[in-house]
Point group: C2
Chain length 139, copies 2
Amino acid sequence: MDINDIEHFLRLHSIRPSHHRIRVYQYLVENRNHPSVDIIYQELIRDIPTLSKTTLYNTLELFLEKGVAILITIDENERRYDADTSFHGHFRCNTCGQIFDIRLHTVPRELESMEGFEINESHIYFKGLCPKCLERGNS
Amino acid sequence: MDINDIEHFLRLHSIRPSHHRIRVYQYLVENRNHPSVDIIYQELIRDIPTLSKTTLYNTLELFLEKGVAILITIDENERRYDADTSFHGHFRCNTCGQIFDIRLHTVPRELESMEGFEINESHIYFKGLCPKCLERGNS
DNA sequence: TTATTTAATTGTAACCATTACATACTTGTA
DNA sequence: TACAAGTATGTAATGGTTACAATTAAATAA
């Protein structure tokens, strides 16, 4: 996704495409690693030495509001973000901490017990051990 | 659930039933409100004036390890606990903050894309507006 | 029961992600 | 160019959680 596309995309979602916002969104799109604020910060600060963490928090909060990113709370300690807003699940390895996307076949429609509720977000989280860490632990 | 039953239950899960542990577990069982640490603390401190928050954190961490409670991370700001360890979903109202249990019919078995993973926990979270807040907002 | 060992609890301080807020800077528009 | 509105910055505060050393309680054996 090139800069112009990102600019256009952000505008489409009524987000003014400032330099920083473009860079943050670009990072999210190109790195599907469900990064924490600190990971994004450490990565971008190398190119944008004046970047502040408050700006990151503001920008990410704006992305959530405008619906171009989602918040993942699978980690108890810090928030993680994902530019893939389509419905999918996540798996976190309890050893290495990595977060994997899980393609979901059966979209949960538990509407029976949820009449009268307005559902805006659905999240499915799995936790356990990823193949690499499993292998490492067995050897 | 009376004190002796709780004591026995904790022992069964290799948890030494100290006074505080019994009280904490009793609170969790009798109050299915998915409390935060602070809520439990405010409630128990009235009866146990010497209770410390560190003890609460230690106790709840032990409960998680031993599998007699689960951690709910549906709230971005604080951890919540549930003595109901059977598989069920949760709904959080974005207005009043209340957390509801959701009975799930279709247990997610997304095993296709998850071969090689060891799954220890599954969580399903919904967020939106509860009936009461919806009604209040419309009037 | 008493002595002894081990485990549980406490209180304080530290930690760290997140937020508040006032200031400074950019950008868009006339 | 000048103005207004929107963005970004840095510092300090907030608040949930953790580390740790000291104290207290519980379990076991003599």
